[in-house]
């Protein structure tokens, strides 16, 4: 557990988090690894985990009939994915797939939600770390939607 606490503290998402909170969070964490090409979760499944990438690269993608999988974001070490764990209906709305051999910390979503509910200070710390991620991704999605590099001929 001490080792997981250290790994969590070194990850950008939890960097600077109070030691007591780290201990609480580590109680919901485990190390996971994925092979290149392995699906981590699929659209429509229960969002029961939250992932902090340590190594490798993960693609977030949505499949469309006749068009294959459209990748809209890749996640690098130090970044997180699977934020649907936080709000009902706790369901993935895209697929996540490892593009290369990848390692991550997987947080048990129910465990973390319960701890955040029991200790609102922990919940607030988590929210302060998640909101910038969500806002940045919303902003980036807007820029993607604008399709800035498209020729305007």
């Amino acid at each position: 557990m001490e080792n997981l606490e250290r790994i969590l503290s070194e990850h950008r998402f939890f960097h600077g988090l109070d030691k007591d909170f780290l201990e609480l969070a580590a109680g919901c964490a485990k190390n996971v690894r994925f092979d290149a090409g392995q699906f981590i979760f699929h659209e429509g499944e229960a969002a029961d985990q939250f992932y902090l990438v340590r190594e490798g690269r993960v693609a977030l993608q949505v499949s469309a009939p006749g068009r294959g999988a459209g990748i809209f974001l890749t996640i690098e070490p130090g970044e997180v994915f699977g934020v649907n764990w936080l709000v009902p209906p706790y369901r993935w709305v895209y697929d996540a797939k490892a593009l290369e051999p990848s390692r991550a910390i997987s947080m048990d979503a129910r465990c973390l939600r319960n701890k955040c509910e029991a200790d609102h200070n922990l919940g607030y710390e988590i929210m302060k770390r998640l909101m910038p991620v969500l806002i940045e991704r919303l902003h980036e999605t807007r820029l993607q939607y604008l399709d800035l590099y498209r020729s305007h001929a």
Binding site: G70, I71, L148
Partner: protein
């Protein structure tokens, strides 16, 4: 090498800036779905001298004239322009073949701050066709590598098939003296690289703001957000250089077509510091 060496072509430009020199197409290459690169030989046999970031007015005879950045190596080889076919003139230029004549007026404008960047880390951020005006700067950085600190290229493209100068970018990725990161806005299964807007590469990149100069070129919206992301990393407005694009006509600051507030993009730019551009970019009417 001086930034604006005087040659016969340059002397003629000073004497008669509105008169095009004649060049001939040596070769045409398809570099992206809607972009072609023309290699030109000057009819007078001279090598065309210019500074990285400068542009020329190219004439498609019988059609018209358009401002096009130089995209070749300022130290050697033919005059090279990479052109996106968007209007009648650029479409006509991209349809020229070997031996066809082209009018060339230039070089014009203020280019990339190569001298100011000496001794510093250089971060080059390109979006889409914005890599073309930055390529001469990259050639200079790599050609005179010892003069500069860490050199990084962060390049965003629309899709994997839209990556400009793909083979050259791959070659640069294989070098040990430049870090190259490429991302695309949209990809399908099979692409193993980054997906996301180019600003995501900036947030992942370590920058020493005390000794970094950034050179940025791409769509104006992209450049605004790149500049903000760089400032979030601690870079000062004076250390961020953007290359602007406007509808240039005379290219010598007379006609006002490219005027942006009190500045003429053709004469005072196209490369400006963000400090100078920031108040102008905030004015929507400009």
């Amino acid at each position: 090498m001086p930034e604006n060496p005087m040659s016969e072509t340059t002397a003629l430009l000073h004497a008669r800036p509105m008169v095009p020199q004649i060049a001939h197409v040596r070769r045409r290459r398809h570099d992206a779905p809607d972009a072609w690169t023309l290699e030109l030989d000057m009819a007078n046999g001279e090598r065309f001298l210019y500074a990285p970031g400068q542009f020329n007015m190219l004439t498609a005879f019988g059609v018209g004239e358009a401002a096009i950045s130089v995209s070749g190596d300022p130290a050697e080889g033919p005059l090279i322009h990479t052109i996106r076919a968007v209007g009648p003139v650029s479409k006509a230029l991209t349809q020229l073949g070997a031996g066809d004549p082209v009018g060339v007026r230039g070089p014009f404008g203020v280019g990339w701050p190569m001298a100011q960047a000496e001794g510093k880390d250089v971060l080059v951020v390109a979006g889409g066709l914005g890599l073309a005006p930055l390529r001469p700067a990259l050639y200079r950085l790599l050609g005179e590598r010892a003069r500069y600190g860490k050199v990084t290229l962060l390049f965003g493209a629309r899709r994997p098939e839209d990556i400009l100068f793909r083979h050259e970018v791959e070659r640069w990725r294989g070098r040990f003296d430049i870090d190259v990161e490429v991302t695309v806005d949209h990809a399908t299964d099979g692409w193993r690289g980054n997906v996301g807007v180019v600003t995501t590469l900036i947030s992942r990149h370590d920058i020493d703001p005390s000794k970094t100069v950034a050179m940025v070129c791409g769509p104006e919206v992209m450049m605004r957000f790149v500049a903000m992301a760089l400032m979030d990393k601690g870079l000062g407005e004076e250390a961020i250089y953007l290359s602007m694009e406007r509808n240039m006509k005379c290219a010598i600051g007379h006609c006002g077509h490219c005027q942006l507030g009190p500045t003429f993009i053709c004469r005072d730019g196209p490369v400006f510091t963000y400090a100078r551009l920031k108040p102008l970019l905030a004015v929507k009417e400009l």
